[in-house]
């Protein structure tokens, strides 16, 4: 259990509930709002109650607060409403109705025994969310809970500065998408002891059954490894993702020297003299913490968190067209702007319907109509994508996800008004943001448009790809009548191109590799290799580089400067 009772107050983290019922743990926005939370993702049908037991040291009267959020504030009923029951008694106050993440007073309860049962009761099925519940015999919520939540939370949970457990590995990989999985496999096959930290219950990131994007690109030199973790080319959002999920999880788990930390989310990385000493991670449900030490680390988080915490240089947004010479006569500002800006490709939330033999109703939702307007749809695809220049793909990811949920529910509600759609119901809506672009950590080489156009055969080429550069823009930039959640793709067709190893390690953090969309590239440079077989190649390549690093006790850069031939030979042997 993830709570501590000190004197007459108790903080219960919602994600630590023993039985989560139909609620899901959402750890995606910890860095912004402070904690994983429980969410009632019922696609319009209220989910089963989440239930837990808490030991109270002292009986008596307690005041109760809950930290929740009205995720669509406006002139309509809040979409995600829920209630709390204590020892079977439902408290009157409805939660999920206040703007922003806030503590709401729920009411008073009499605690007559030390074992207390708490339940979260969903009222709407539309993504009500609860971060934590606080019981206190004091009538007043401590000011610190509102003004300095992170510190107050640590105090209440009795957290020490250093995690209780420490583990040491040859290589610590954070992020279990295709890049992280491939890095773990290639390093483990060569005998390294590897930790793979991933904040979800299943591996694969955007390729997982939780996000359901199919893998694209070519296998390069790593077909054998990548076939252990890739997907078939089913339509994005297909339930068939689950078969590849089973294969991927089984294959990665089969390595005895890969310690897999599923449902663990890294929250800090510390560097000294530009070298990372450790990565700290927390279990997304229990709150347990582990400090991971290693001589070398891989950042395959997608958002470049390890590099960010460690002080690695990074970029975000679109460079000016003159910075790397990436202008396009054909696409102009849509491709690469004259002046740099904060625009990046957007995030997708995929969804799928089910056609049944009976009619199903779906409600009209004022809070969703506002976004969907008149758009009708019964399923999503890659072009269900959202990006806007006032929203940051990391800092505002919750708002981006929620915007997409509104777009989905609203468009489906519109489609359901059409007679021919009466038998459709929502089968699956992801609640995970499938990101395309966020932080890009800078390496010794920044991969860009010219490397693609010139097909530069770098002497340290370790990844290859022939997929067209494919960058997206929001349709409403050109046509204000288009919904703001749909995108368009621009392509630059090309023959095979190559990514150098020097784009896969940090230029200023000496023991940090990166693989995945956070590799060293420009906005346009990311356009081609951002798909998952290519990012998987990056992972496999850095896993092998870590092997050379260990063998000669050198840093990633020295693999390039001193051991390149041996490294390339090792890659050749993988086929």
């Amino acid at each position: 259990m993830y709570f501590i009772g000190i004197a007459q107050d108790i903080l219960v983290e919602a994600e630590s509930f023993i039985d989560k019922g139909g609620w899901v743990v959402d750890p995606q926005f910890v860095e912004q709002m402070g904690s994983p939370y429980l969410m009632a993702h019922g696609m319009g049908v209220p989910v089963a109650n989440a239930v837990t037991k808490v030991n109270f040291n002292k009986k008596g009267k307690y005041h109760v607060w809950a930290r929740s959020k009205n995720w669509v504030p406006g002139n309509w009923d809040a979409p995600g409403q829920f209630k709390i029951a204590v020892n079977g008694k439902t408290l009157k106050t409805t939660l999920g109705v206040t703007s922003g993440w806030t503590w709401d007073y729920v009411g008073k309860v009499n605690i007559n025994s030390t074992d207390v049962e708490i339940q979260l009761s969903d009222l709407t099925g539309f993504n009500g969310r609860c971060d934590a519940i606080y019981f206190s015999q004091s009538q007043k919520l401590p000011t610190e809970a509102e003004t300095n939540l992170a510190s107050w939370r640590k105090t209440k949970l009795g957290e020490t500065t250093i995690p209780e457990q420490q583990k040491e590995y040859d290589l610590v990989i954070t992020g279990g998408g295709l890049a992280g999985c491939a890095a773990a496999i290639s390093a483990a096959e060569q005998g390294l002891n590897v930790a793979l930290i991933h904040d979800r219950p299943v591996l694969g990131g955007n390729a997982s059954e939780e996000v359901r994007v199919h893998t694209l690109g070519i296998y390069g030199k790593f077909e054998r490894i990548l076939k252990m973790i890739d997907t078939k080319h089913y339509p994005n959002g297909s339930y068939k993702a689950k078969y590849d999920q089973e294969k991927r999880d089984r294959n990665v788990k089969s390595f005895k020297n890969i310690d897999l930390f599923l449902n663990w989310r890294a929250y800090d990385a510390k560097s000294e003299n530009n070298s990372i000493k450790y990565v700290d991670a927390r279990n997304t449900s229990t709150g347990e913490r582990i400090r991971f030490t290693a001589p070398r680390f891989v950042d395959s988080t997608g958002d470049g968190w390890i590099g960010f915490w460690a002080g690695a240089e990074f970029s975000y947004g679109r460079e000016s067209s003159s910075k790397y010479g990436e202008a396009s006569d054909e696409w102009g500002e849509l491709w690469s702007p004259e002046e740099p800006d904060d625009i990046v490709m957007g995030s997708s939330v995929l969804w799928q319907n089910e056609k049944t033999n009976e009619a199903h109703k779906f409600p009209e939702l004022a809070w969703a109509k506002d976004i969907a307007k008149e758009h009708k749809a019964i399923a999503g695809e890659w072009y269900w994508e959202f990006s806007r220049n006032d929203l940051h793909q990391i800092h505002d990811a919750e708002e981006i996800r929620d915007h997409m949920l509104r777009a989905i529910y609203g468009s489906f509600a519109n489609a359901k008004k059409v007679e021919k759609n009466k038998n459709y119901k929502l089968q699956w809506v992801s609640y995970l943001v499938g990101k395309r672009e966020s932080r890009r950590l800078l390496g010794d080489h920044v991969y860009n448009f010219n490397d693609v156009k010139n097909h530069t055969k770098f002497k340290d080429a370790v990844v290859e790809e022939s997929r067209a550069i494919d960058v997206h823009y929001q349709r409403n930039l050109k046509d204000s009548e288009e919904p703001d959640f749909l995108s368009e793709a621009l392509f630059y067709k090309t023959e095979k191109y190559y990514i150098p190893y020097r784009s896969l390690y940090s230029k200023n953090i000496t023991n940090l590799f990166m693989a995945g969309r956070n590799f060293s590239c420009s906005h346009i440079g990311l356009g081609g290799p951002r798909v998952m077989l290519t990012t998987g190649q990056m992972g496999a390549a850095v896993g092998l580089a870590a092997v050379i690093c260990k063998k000669y006790d050198v840093n990633p850069r020295e693999v390039y400067t001193k051991h390149l031939e041996e490294y390339l030979n090792l890659i050749e042997k993988q086929q």
């Binding site: 500002e333 004259e338 800006d341 220049n389 505002d396 708002e399 368009e488 392509f491």
Partner: protein, 370 residues
């Protein structure tokens, strides 16, 4: 002998089309205003080659592109009378289409000879709405047809013609994939595909190069002052920052009427010494509630180069701001407290007290720390 005679007659017909000195310009569809009516001069400027997409008859026909100018000799359009064979599985039909491009090489319209209608599956003639759909397809410079091979556009699994409405079929080898279906004429995939690729092919590059050879201040001025978005954007890109002041009235007009992409370009490029003029600031910032969200963000970003009255103007439009935009605006006020006058303060307080305003709490926090 008979075949040779037929070939010569066909060749003469095609050459006859191309040799008309002044064809009767009368497009069936035209997305500009009436430029074609003003054409007084007509000169051939270059040729381009149209290759048959059908491998059975690997033909290449040269076509002439003409520059159409008005009575003052000002270039206005490119034109070509295109003859091509549209083939499906070895069966070919002649298609004739008179195509108009604007001076940037963007397709703007087409006309037809009534005696040579376009054809679709089983060589049925295009119907009236099919011609309109073709025009819409040709206007889409990023059509799905662009990046696909003809063979990719047919479903993998063959569909028996007896099991499906023939209108859903393209050729006889399969049904068109769903995504393509929406953009092409039903049963007319081959015609649509062939024509799209001719009109958006090599000829466009040649037109762009030709434009570079005739570029002039007069032409750029014309582009800037037309109502067409692509011309306006082209002209804005050519415009030196030092020229923004001279054209500020037109630039503001464009800003008020154009798409979000061009608005953003203007807001990023307009020099501070132009934006800071009070009347120009007012015209830009009074548009705040009317423009798209991305442009609003850029307006807030440009506050530091605008006239100080911009902060007061924006204080009237707080409810048009997103959460992050309001944060950005309040941050600007924190950094530049001298720009926070009494009117702005009143507007801010009013917004913070409005219970229907979601982000009022941010303003309260701002005043708490002020």
């Amino acid at each position: 002998m008979y075949k040779l005679l037929t070939f010569i007659i066909m060749l003469l017909i095609i050459m006859g089309f191309q040799d008309q000195n002044k064809p009767d310009y009368n497009p069936m569809f035209f997305s500009m205003t009436n430029e074609w009516k003003e054409i007084a001069l007509d000169e051939p400027v270059f040729e381009f080659v149209v290759k048959s997409l059908d491998t059975t008859y690997d033909t290449q026909i040269k076509h002439q592109v003409r520059l159409l100018s008005n009575s003052e000799g000002a270039p206005r359009l490119f034109f070509s009378n295109i003859e091509t064979s549209v083939c499906a599985d070895g069966e070919c039909k002649l298609a004739n289409i008179k195509v108009y491009w604007n001076l940037l090489g963007n397709y703007v319209g087409y006309g037809m000879s009534p005696e040579l209608p376009l054809t679709k599956f089983e060589h049925d003639h295009f119907e009236k709405e099919d011609y309109a759909k073709l025009h819409q397809l040709l206007l889409d410079d990023n059509s799905i047809l662009k990046r696909r091979k003809m063979s990719d556009l047919i479903d993998q699994v063959p569909v028996s013609p007896s099991n499906i409405d023939s209108k859903d079929l393209d050729g006889i080898s399969g049904a068109t994939i769903t995504e393509v279906k929406e953009s092409v004429v039903k049963g007319g995939l081959y015609s649509c595909y062939t024509l799209w690729h001719i009109i958006h092919g090599e000829v466009q590059e040649k037109m762009k190069r030709y434009l570079e050879s005739i570029t002039s201040d007069t032409l750029n001025h014309y582009f800037l002052y037309t109502p067409y978005k692509d011309y306006q954007m082209y002209a804005l890109k050519q415009l030196q920052k030092t020229e923004f002041k001279k054209h500020s009235i037109q630039i503001i007009n464009i800003f008020k009427t154009t798409d979000a992409l061009t608005k953003a370009y203007i807001l990023k490029k307009i020099p501070s010494d132009v934006l800071s003029e009070q009347s120009i600031t007012e015209q830009f910032y009074n548009e705040f509630p009317l423009v798209d969200i991305n442009s609003r963000t850029l307006l807030i970003h440009r506050l530091k180069s605008a006239n100080p009255n911009a902060t007061e103007i924006l204080s009237k439009y707080l409810d048009s701001m997103t959460r992050n935009q309001l944060r950005l605006y309040l941050k600007y006020l924190s950094d530049n407290p001298e720009h926070l006058n009494n009117t702005s303060k009143t507007n801010l307080i009013k917004a913070s007290e409005n219970k229907r305003f979601t982000y009022g709490f941010l303003i309260k926090v701002f005043f708490k720390n002020y």
